[in-house]
Symmetry: C2
Subunit: 515 residues, 2 copies
């Protein structure tokens, strides 16, 4: 058994089932090992950023890591932007990166680079394997690291000879780490704050946004009058019918500071104190008042549901029935295609258990409101701000949840970063409906240009933020990669196309063209 084969068995023994692959020559023994096995699903992508984004989406839904299989430094580089998003989401991911054979490295062949240096900023743990004999144990360790709470990125750099040399037996199933529990002192202080008469907001994120955690937060709000909010961008949020409502922090400082202007106390649950996505000249970075007191109930790696449950018990709120949202679907609009009409259609046609992957940017303005009382669904958003996460994350979510519809809401500019994802959707026949909001500009940047106080708004400047010369034809791009597609230019066309998409299995794309 060579190193690659023993590594693969080790990974399988420890619960890993899926590998998002874009291999090269130095990974051929790993490819061969996967090919020989019946227990690892390999999903090919045409670009490494699709692999890493898919691993992020998979982890958000499956709660465990997938593999990426990448080709030396450049393969990792192409995966890095979406690893950045995965790192900010605390998604567990295991990167397998092939490298030159140990004895070949010193010749500095063309593909040689500092793979460890490239890996460190996007990984919590990096290990270069020393020998084939070490590889199985290193692979086992990578799974354990990735499974540390709240989820880690483990990167294993595998010189080619460590894969092809004779190795030792695979490692059996290893113990996986549990989430630590919050200190009792943190619970006590939260209970005290919630009952001291000051205006208090619970700021929740990450593991605190499950259906169960939201219900506990709702009991706290009922008992104490606290406001319940979540970060703007969260890995996974349970929404819709039967779930308890939560107010989302606005992206723009102008919104967020108003939402928090009354707060006297902020209690963070798996979250950080809210700050601006960017800085703006002359404006503070913090969204909360200077006088606001801060306390952390549970850190991101701790069990949020445990901390919330103990807090509910302590303040005596466990007898309160959570206020769950009723099903109230928006009516469809007719006529002009607008952001509101599209949001109405999404809210109207949403299926139970739909996974919404949102990279709609400015085009999604009405989506949260119009889906608030729709069928129960999960909402995945862009945690690291690196655009081009949506299509790949949709792949991973669909692979992890084959019985659920995935609806990917995407701006046109952002979609072009990882447009190659469409091919993998077709190849794997994934149940994903992609909606492209084709306003043909980087609308968010045209807004930001004004907001940062940059004064030149002439044609040459705006051309740098414009996508209309030439217009991108997403129907052709989609069909070119094997995904059926259509264009909607009116609300009625969009409604009809979305209705069809939601009731038809398999990948499709709707290009929504509007001003």
């Amino acid at each position: 058994m060579n190193g690659a084969e023993s590594m693969l068995e080790t990974l399988i023994n420890n619960g890993i089932e899926v590998c998002f692959s874009n291999p090269g020559t130095s990974e051929m023994h790993m490819v061969a090992a996967i090919g020989k096995s019946q227990r690892m699903r390999s999903i090919l992508s045409l670009f490494e950023g699709v692999c890493s984004g898919a691993a992020d989406g998979y982890a958000r839904m499956a709660g465990k890591p997938a593999l990426t299989l990448l080709h030396l430094g450049p393969g990792l580089s192409n995966a890095s932007a979406n690893l950045h998003n995965a790192r900010k989401a605390f998604s567990p991911v295991i990167n397998l990166i092939g490298d030159h054979a140990t004895y070949h490295k010193r010749f500095d062949a063309p593909l040689n680079s500092d793979v460890e240096g490239l890996s460190a900023p996007v990984s919590h743990w990096v290990k270069t394997v020393s020998s084939a004999a070490d590889l199985p144990a290193d692979a086992g360790k990578a799974v354990q690291v990735a499974m540390e709470k709240p989820g880690r990125i483990a990167t294993l750099i595998i010189p080619a000879d460590c894969a092809w040399d004779e190795s030792v037996s695979p490692v059996s199933a290893l113990p996986m780490p549990d989430a630590p529990l919050a200190d009792q002192g943190a619970i006590d202080q939260a209970a005290e704050w919630l009952t001291n008469g000051r205006r208090t907001t619970l700021m929740m994120s990450h593991g605190a946004l499950t259906e169960e955690s939201l219900a506990l937060a709702n009991q706290i709000a009922q008992a104490t009058g606290a406001k319940i909010m979540c970060d703007t961008f969260t890995p996974r949020l349970a929404r819709g019918e039967g779930r308890c409502d939560i107010e989302r922090l606005g992206y723009f400082a102008e919104q967020a500071t108003v939402q928090l202007e009354d707060a006297e106390q902020l209690i963070m649950v798996a979250s950080k104190a809210p700050v601006g996505f960017f800085a703006y000249p002359g404006k503070p970075s913090e969204f909360y008042p200077e006088s606001c007191a801060l306390h952390t109930l549970s850190r991101v790696e701790e069990s949020a549901v445990d901390a919330l449950r103990r807090l509910v018990d302590q303040i005596g709120a466990s007898g309160l029935a959570p206020q769950r949202l009723a099903l109230v679907k928006p009516d469809l609009a007719s006529g002009e295609l607008t952001l509101e009409s599209m949001a109405r259609a999404v809210g109207h046609y949403l299926l139970t258990d739909t996974i919404i992957v949102d990279e709609s940017a400015t085009s999604g303005a009405f989506m949260p409101a119009m889906t608030r009382n729709s069928e129960p669904h999960d909402w995945l958003s862009l945690t690291g701000g690196s655009i081009g996460y949506g299509l790949p994350v949709a792949i991973g979510a669909a692979v992890a949840s084959p019985d659920r519809k995935v609806l990917c809401l995407h701006g046109d500019g952002g979609a072009m970063y990882t447009i190659q994802a469409l091919w993998t959707m077709a190849r794997e026949d994934l149940d994903i409906c992609v909606v492209i909001f084709a306003n043909r500009k980087y609308q968010i940047l045209q807004v930001e240009l004004a907001r940062v106080g940059a004064q030149s708004m002439n044609k040459q400047t705006l051309d740098m933020l414009d996508l209309s010369n030439p217009d991108i034809d997403f129907v052709k791009l989609s069909e070119g990669m094997g995904v059926r597609a259509s264009t909607a230019t009116t609300a009625d066309e969009f409604n009809q196309q979305l209705a069809t998409a939601m009731k038809t299995r398999g990948p499709c794309l709707i290009e929504a063209v509007f001003d």
Copy 2:
């Protein structure tokens, strides 16, 4: 004058004319400064790997750096694979990377990352700007660093407040570094080796591959019987009618070791001792015999033409007329579309001064032979092995050389990594003909799988190297991004489409479908 404006004036004062841009919010003041100026051409791309590849191609043809304008760590990450290629080509490039405002960094907002850590492996020089007042001087230094021979990658990380705060006056034109000259001892030893009766090969790369250097090498070969060879992958090679011939080292060890098996002495000119692109089980990394003696005539940063001229003088070969290639164009083939028929067409229709950007991988097997005696042209190849370099480099070459036709020969798998480049070709109306070799597999990997001795060749393994499910329709992809396109399935169709493309200005794509 704010930091961005003074930086821009400094760059313009130091000869920088082009910026390949994919900006975000933190770069808005740089966008505004470029918009206000009439002296910086900004070229927008939909993906940062297009920007960095274009800067590489520009540098190879213009001999000076372009800018890339990138958005924080993820923007740099997306640019990194093609920066890797540029670094291996020693192409001068200046990266301008926006980052969070200095005072905002500590909040670790979603887009925060270790930008310096990400930059170091793909840069020769990295500087994070400290203040708006420092920015102009830092920008001037970046140009000087990039212009150090043989060409460097200079990365300037610019916190947003350093761009928007009030700054000082721009820096005027600075002195730029000259290429150092080779030691006389290195010339003397080369002269001695060339006349000691042993079989000697000159291994040339980088700056040694200009028309003038090749003529000097030819005089040496005539005078001494030395063999003249070049590396497999070189940044820019002068070929065709009127140039002196040079033998290219084969990619596969099986070829390369035969080419070098008789060598008793290797003299490197701006090159390294030849080694395998990858290691293979049980095979040596070095392509030359163990007994072969090695000597470096001139290092890559030294002037190759100067060293060759001094060597020619010293061995008394300056009176010999260089043997220049005559114009002998291949005949066209008819019938089945094959690698040979396509190479014949390329050799037949090549225009004087065509720039060939080659990422044809296995599909280009016949290209060198069939273009050897065609019209004079430059040949750009994949120096770092990170695929997806071809389309972006074609953009940069076309921008640097607007009066020359660019012919980009590209494998289908490789083209998908940076397919977004087509949109920029259309937007800028660049004179580029793209030929896609659509064999619908990663053919090189199917070859390599066998060569590395990986034994499993079952369907599941081969599926990981296969692009046929679904077939990619490059005509639709191209049209979807505004580039006219056609499909050729016979030699005659290909001949006719290439003939039209070569005589018609503007971007186009030919999808050549073959087995």
